[in-house]
């Protein structure tokens, strides 16, 4: 079959053409030998000629027959080419082939690593590559065949000018392959850092991959999309560079990273986890602060009516004398009370300033938005943590984990290391004992009894502290009724002081109680956290209930004041203009106007005071309990009868649970109070900022590493869950007051309305087209909302059920795996 020789040669030429295309790219780099150049120059003409010839040939020949020969031609050519490659590999250092071989190596990942390393050691890389080459070859052939089949299909559909398009196809296919290879190289560059290779190897691989990419990226753009492709490549390069710079910038921007690392290296990861949590809280509070500051406080200060223009914006006459005293300001009354810091200062004007800023609406939305944002961010973080934790819940690898993961690689302090050694030893011993005595458990009754007793004692403490607070709040109400002026400092600050003292001493009490129980430290920490949580919660809620009582009192008072106001106004009018009631009101100095009690500001003040006193107590505790104690122990140790450092007072340990809970409850107060005191997030940001520095200093300066060092990675979501719980609990009272208590009649952005949320319907009425209001009215119809809630409940149920079934399936698989390997 002499005719059939022709296509074969065509194919051969085609193949060389492709090779030359690679070469042409190399030529750009001026790396190519002269012979290649000659070949290249020669090819285009020949190619064209062959193509023409083939066109003719394709017109004449039977298609199937031609295809068959072509395939064999392919193979033959492929073999030749492959052999040539291998030879080139062994012989000279052509630029292309080692890179390709590298790529092949990269494809066979870690499984081949050992082999490769051996290769490197032996320096016989040529042999290894050759082997891989052969592995690769059939694969390539397979690809070709597939491509051919595709071509066959195509040919069947369209005949006449098919050979021309076929030629196009081949280059395109090669191009696509090249493109693929380039992409793969790029991927390799991106994931190079994840390869367990030595740096030298990584560097050389990187260099070759980069060279390869650079070389062929230009060649890829042959034909139509050349410019676009080049542009794309350039942009991706720029983008990568920008990303890298941005990444560098971002890591430089994480605040306190060095401080936390320093602490981490001294005290292990558990103490550092507290500081990371603190930093996270700081970030959230910054955003809350930005919201309230930017959308509520600043607009009111800039565009609202100035101080002294309205009764609600003026210090009343009776207080004027003391309004600027420090004691008054420290108490957040006087001038501080009548400023943008508190709810009462804001006017109920619908729009303010030339921007027509909707102040009341903004106030309401920011109040709701802070809570909504906090919910979303806490839940999102929890979900991410849960994802990262993965399925670490089974205990089938108890000993292995103890052996391989118990060392905290962050420890860089000999003392901590000592403690860690000790704790690992005890944990091993405990595990051994558990393993040996899992059947006996002779002391079970005693432990049970002790645990019940401990819980009983803890409950007693909780109840006692609750009652104490209730009692104190009641007493303070009595004092307030009789007038605070008759009483001293203690009576005035009794509530705050008692709460702070309880928060200080009860945790230590719980600590003593928990030593009865004899739990593992991690479980003990949980119990401790739970108890302190209950304590704080009880305190907070007693406080809130007392506040509610006070709000009710104020509401009664307000009624009386309202009644008196009408009388006062009437008397005012009676005195001057008796008949014309529509005339503009008489000018009275705003300081002289009688006013209602404004319970919202009162609530805000209470929360601000509580926050400030809480902060003070924390700082003083740190200074006295940690710093002075450390100084005393350190310097009196020289002249004391026993060893102070190892003996009784010793240095204090960093109390993680107490600090975390303090932080969480502080945040709860912020969430609760920020609606009535927009300044609260600002105060909290300040507090967190200072406490970051103070606590960092204190922990490095006066604390010693814990004796029971344990890692805190699992408790993270535990903290988060508590935070979520507190968030929920603190939104309850806030939402309750917003929804069901009428706002004061003469202060705050919602005065004059029967409920605060009416601001929404008001906006809908005035600022939106009427159809929107209608739609909203329909949408808020209970007939629509109830089915919607039902749907949500059902979907939650469904998702819960599916996740449960997945979990079960997982467990089943795990069991199967275990049984199968025990056989």
């Amino acid at each position: 079959m002499p005719q059939h020789e022709k296509p074969t040669t065509v194919k051969g030429n085609d193949g060389s053409d492709v090779d030359n295309e690679e070469g042409s790219a190399a030529e750009n780099e001026e790396n190519v030998k002269g012979t290649d150049k000659v070949g290249k120059r020669a090819t285009p003409r020949t190619r064209r000629g062959h193509a023409r010839g083939r066109t003719r040939h394709g017109d004449e020949e039977d298609e199937d027959d031609e295809d068959g020969t072509r395939r064999t031609g392919y193979r033959r050519h492929r073999n030749r080419r492959g052999r040539g490659r291998a030879a080139g590999n062994e012989g000279s250092d052509s630029d292309v082939d080692p890179a390709k071989a590298r790529k092949n190596q990269a494809n066979q990942k870690s499984k081949d690593d050992d082999e490769e390393e051996e290769d490197e050691k032996g320096g016989k890389s040529g042999k290894g590559k050759g082997e891989k080459k052969q592995d690769k070859k059939p694969d390539k052939k397979g690809k070709k065949e597939k491509a051919n089949k595709k071509k066959k299909d195509k040919k069947k559909s369209g005949s006449g000018s098919d050979s021309d398009s076929e030629e196009e196809m081949i280059t395109e296919e090669e191009l696509a392959k090249l493109k693929e290879e380039v992409e793969e190289k790029k991927k390799l560059i991106a994931t190079l850092r994840n390869k367990p290779w030595k740096m030298k190897k990584k560097l050389s691989v990187l260099k070759e991959a980069q060279l390869f990419v650079e070389k062929f990226e230009g060649a890829l753009g042959k034909g139509k999309g050349k410019k676009f492709y080049a542009y794309k490549v350039m942009m991706t390069k720029k983008w990568m560079k920008f990303q890298r710079d941005f990444e560098n910038f971002k890591t430089a921007c994480i605040p306190w990273e060095m401080k936390i690392k320093e602490i981490e290296s001294h005290f292990g990861s558990s103490v550092a986890s507290y500081f990371i949590f603190l930093r996270w809280m700081y970030g959230i509070n910054m955003i809350l602060f930005g919201l309230t500051f930017g959308l509520v406080m600043v607009p009111e200060a800039l565009m609202g009516k100035p101080y002294g223009s309205l009764p609600r914006k003026t210090v009343p006459r009776a207080e004027e004398a003391t309004a600027m005293n420090f004691a008054t300001l420290w108490d957040f009354s006087g001038f501080a009370q009548y400023s943008v810091l508190f709810y009462g200062y804001y006017n109920n004007q619908r729009t303010i300033g030339w921007l027509k800023f909707r102040m009341p609406l903004s106030y309401f939305l920011v109040g709701v938005g802070t809570i909504g944002y906090s919910f979303i961010i806490v839940i999102r973080t929890m979900a991410r943590n849960a994802n990262e934790e993965g399925g670490g819940d089974d205990t089938s690898f108890n000993f292995s984990w103890k052996m391989f993961t118990s060392w905290d690689y962050l420890i860089g302090n000999p003392e901590t290391a000592d403690n860690k050694f000790a704790s690992i030893t005890t944990s091993f011993k405990e595990a051994i004992v558990e393993e040996q005595e899992s059947r006996k458990e002779e002391n079970i009754h005693l432990t049970r009894f002790l645990r019940v007793l401990a819980n009983f004692l803890a409950l007693c403490t909780l109840a006692g502290s609750g009652y104490l607070i209730f009692f104190v709040v009641r007493r303070s109400q009595k004092f307030a009724l009789e007038g605070l002026e008759n009483y001293g400092w203690w009576e005035r600050n009794e509530v705050n002081m008692v709460m702070s003292l309880l928060g200080m001493f009860c945790p230590t009490l719980f600590d003593v109680i928990s030593s009865l129980e004899n739990y593992h430290p991690r479980i003990a920490l949980r119990w401790q956290l739970g108890r302190i949580f209950a304590l704080f919660l009880g305190n907070l809620y007693t406080f809130i209930i007392a506040l509610m009582d006070e709000i009710n009192l104020k509401l009664e008072e307000e009624k009386i004041v309202k009644y008196n106001m009408t009388i006062w106004e009437a008397s005012l009018y009676n005195g001057t203009i008796p008949e014309n009631s529509t005339a503009p009101p008489i000018q009275v100095d705003p300081a002289d106007v009688p006013r209602g009690p404004c319970w919202e500001t009162m609530v805000g003040q209470e929360f601000v005071r509580l926050t400030v006193s809480d902060t003070m107590t924390t700082y003083i505790t740190i200074l006295i309990g940690d710093f002075l104690r450390a100084v005393f122990v350190r310097f009196f140790n020289y002249c004391w009868c026993w060893d102070l450092e190892y003996g009784f007072p010793s240095y204090s340990e960093f109390d993680i649970s107490g600090n975390v809970l303090g932080l969480i409850f502080n945040q709860g107060m912020i969430w609760m109070g920020s609606f009535y005191a927009p300044c609260l997030p600002a105060i909290n940001v300040f507090r967190l900022h200072t406490s970051m520095y103070l606590q960092c200093w204190a922990v490095m300066c006066c604390n010693v590493p814990q004796e029971r060092v344990f890692k805190a990675s699992r408790s993270n979501n535990f903290y988060m869950a508590m935070l979520l719980f507190i968030l929920f609990l603190s939104t309850l009272p806030a939402v309750y007051t917003i929804v069901s208590i009428p706002p004061s009649f003469d202060c705050g952005p919602f005065s004059g309305k029967t409920r605060m949320f009416e601001v929404i319907s008001e906006t809908l009425e005035h600022d939106f087209p009427s159809w929107f209001g209608k739609v909203f009215g329909y949408a808020s119809n209970p007939g629509l909302i109830l089915p919607f809630i039902l749907l949500m409940v059902l979907s939650i149920y469904y998702l819960n059920a599916t996740s449960k079934s997945y979990k079960e399936a997982n467990l089943e698989l795990k069991k199967k795996l275990q049984t199968s390997r025990r056989k």
Partner: protein, 220 residues
Amino acid sequence: MGNKQTIFTQAQLDAYQDCTFFTRKEILRLFDRYRDLAPQLVPLDYTGKPAVTLPYELIGSMPELKDNPFRQRIAEVFSENGDGNMTLDDFLDMFSVLSEMAPRDLKAYYAFKIYDFNNDDYICKSDLEKTVNKLTRNELTAEEVNLVCDKVIYEADVDNDGKLSLEDFQHMIIRAPDFLSPCRSSPFSDTVSSRGAHLQDWANRSSKKCGAFLMCFLNL
């Protein structure tokens, strides 16, 4: 930082950034740390790729590694020829793997190598015994050690050949709840700046338990 640094060329820095998990600044800081170990040995110009190797004694005295029971193994695993002496490349490699950005798989691979004391690509019982003894400073009796090792092999050995292969090890370690943190190391903690380390040594000498106290007191 600016463009003042002349230790590496830009290309070198870029290559290091591609090969490790560090940013440019961190690489320079690590170089400083490396150089601080032996200022007289390490040149300030790395553009010519000088062949400098620091002995294990110096590497092992770094505060990050000093208290680590596996420091010798770590140095050996990451060093080029397994003797614990490290070039700058090895050094960067080590901290890249130990940094918190490194993925679990990579850490697991190197952790396996670290625990494989006799380099036979399996963690066998003698390796386990060594590990336990290092972790507990020989506080456990021989029987206890034996029991623990048996338990570990019973738990983690999937293919029942009496020793742990890399697959066994990965299977077990990837599920560990604490694994993300254990291999994290903090190369940039300040204890590590020469001043901090010096003070720490001094504090250690003066009194054992007040080390942390003194150190920060002076750092103020």
